[in-house]
Symmetry: C2
Subunit: 356 residues, 2 copies
Amino acid sequence: MSFVGKAILSLGLGASLVAGTAIVVAADDAGQALLSRAQALFKPLPADAATPERPITPELVELGQALFFEPRVSTDGKVSCAFCHNPSFYGTDALPQSAGNRGRLVPRNAPTVFNTALQFVQHYGGNRADVEEQALKALTAALAYGNKDFAEAETRLRALPGYRPLFEKAFPGQAEPVTVENWSKAIGAYERVLLTPAPFDRYLEGDTSALSDQARRGLDKFITTGCAACHGGVTVGGQMYQKFGITQDYWLATGSQENALLKGRDKGRFHDTQDEADSFIFKVPQLRNVAVTPPYFHDGSVADLGDAVRVMAKVQLGRDLEKGDVEDIVAFLHSLTGEVPEVFARAPNLPAAAYK
Amino acid sequence: MSFVGKAILSLGLGASLVAGTAIVVAADDAGQALLSRAQALFKPLPADAATPERPITPELVELGQALFFEPRVSTDGKVSCAFCHNPSFYGTDALPQSAGNRGRLVPRNAPTVFNTALQFVQHYGGNRADVEEQALKALTAALAYGNKDFAEAETRLRALPGYRPLFEKAFPGQAEPVTVENWSKAIGAYERVLLTPAPFDRYLEGDTSALSDQARRGLDKFITTGCAACHGGVTVGGQMYQKFGITQDYWLATGSQENALLKGRDKGRFHDTQDEADSFIFKVPQLRNVAVTPPYFHDGSVADLGDAVRVMAKVQLGRDLEKGDVEDIVAFLHSLTGEVPEVFARAPNLPAAAYK
């Protein structure tokens, strides 16, 4: 090869490389800008949801895991936390509205228990401050554990002698550790480790390849459409209240005659505060694992994730999304699906004793 | 050392050895005799419960595992096989009598699903030939899956599109593999691998150290008292029918006023055959995992295993067992406890779809 040949070859290669680099840089700029916007709106999951007031120990988690699956504290012997937060359905029951004690209908949909400890309040109406209060009050809720008071729940709990050593280990030095308060603290500690890191977390940590091109387009549209204004933070939602149906009645948008007939039945926070200003105000639900936890909304009225996206854009933001936009956003939402934690997927062996 | 010294030493050692050997041989003789009697009465578990007519493949088992935990084929969206055969309770629900569809009371106790495929018939009344028939007919049982007919069950099953690929793999070459018959075959295949080898199996295979001294005493008493006459075979029961209350009314022996009042309600096989000769005739239940699956009897009327042993000896054999005999037999029964199979303890992720 002549010197000229070599020079041309070099030039050719050089030009290609420059052009290639320019394209990569442009893509990187756009990609980096999207990542930066995302990092400002969302946060990757922490290792657990412990707080100084709500500490976690292995002993608490072990006890909490058993109690989460324990139905013998309920008045029908069937209701446990796992009764509605089923390991086979990513911590939901796949029902539009849950079936509670003796199979009676619960008026709202059971959200996933995963990552819920990181939400700012619990329940769609926000009437529970944290997962510990949620668990504790479930003991005397008629449609949940069904006990008439905490004393009845405690009697049922103490009738299961196999738990005493576990309570003693989890709450050392207490004269009587087998209490409903400790029951709820142990379950809370367990729920605080039920976090599900997902591809979106790896993305937020800087690995842009963790999301497909379509998922990144969807993320962009999720932000620019306005979804992220409410569905933000570490749980992609679950950090504020909002009216359901800002620009339009959501029952009309879902097109469900059945739901139209039910209109006004569930007024959200109003039921807790009795303040008309709270009518149809609900906690914005988190979206982690949303793709694997249908059906959607507080009443489970929408079965398809694309439909849920479309309805939300319409009634919350006044936007009619194109089919492709919906598909891209759905692709992004799939990146919020994590793995079922091993401590949840594997059923604990509960102390043998007959229900009384 | 002199020759005499050596000779004495040899003699001493020799005498000791002979004496020692004699004792060991005597113990071995008794131990071997017990083992031989046990081997004539019982059999260790096979690797699985497949038969030529009921084959097992990995694809069948995988599908069957999912379907076993799948509640969306039931009319209340809650009943699955696992609803009463819970992984946390060794495949039972720990209730005296089960709660079925919409929480309604089922008149009998839910036995463990483990090893049940090896029993000679299914159900306390023996009205199901095998686990496949048991599963199939549960689909239209009002207190189980609750469907009005198989067509309704099949419609529910086909409304879960995520199962179609699993059915196609498990039943290759079938034009329409998603049928209730195939549903029951897959669940049956899964149940046929839910076997729980226990220390007693190792004993039966010749390792007498697998049972404690007390458990071996208990085994001896279990045989000599007469328990093994009915509770024999591979499942230590589950191989014949027998009248419950041969020498005495069992309701009187349990001392339960409540049960005395209910007397005559459950007449066992009579309900299936309408033959008075079948009154109070029940399948002899298997005893594998009995120590970890209280409460006992077809009506769950006895919570304590020792009480169950005492009552059985009294009303079936006319024997009043001493406290120590009961304790020894209970120690033996503990040797029938196996491990929860991994394919049962670990919840399958079920195809995401809302219940309709």
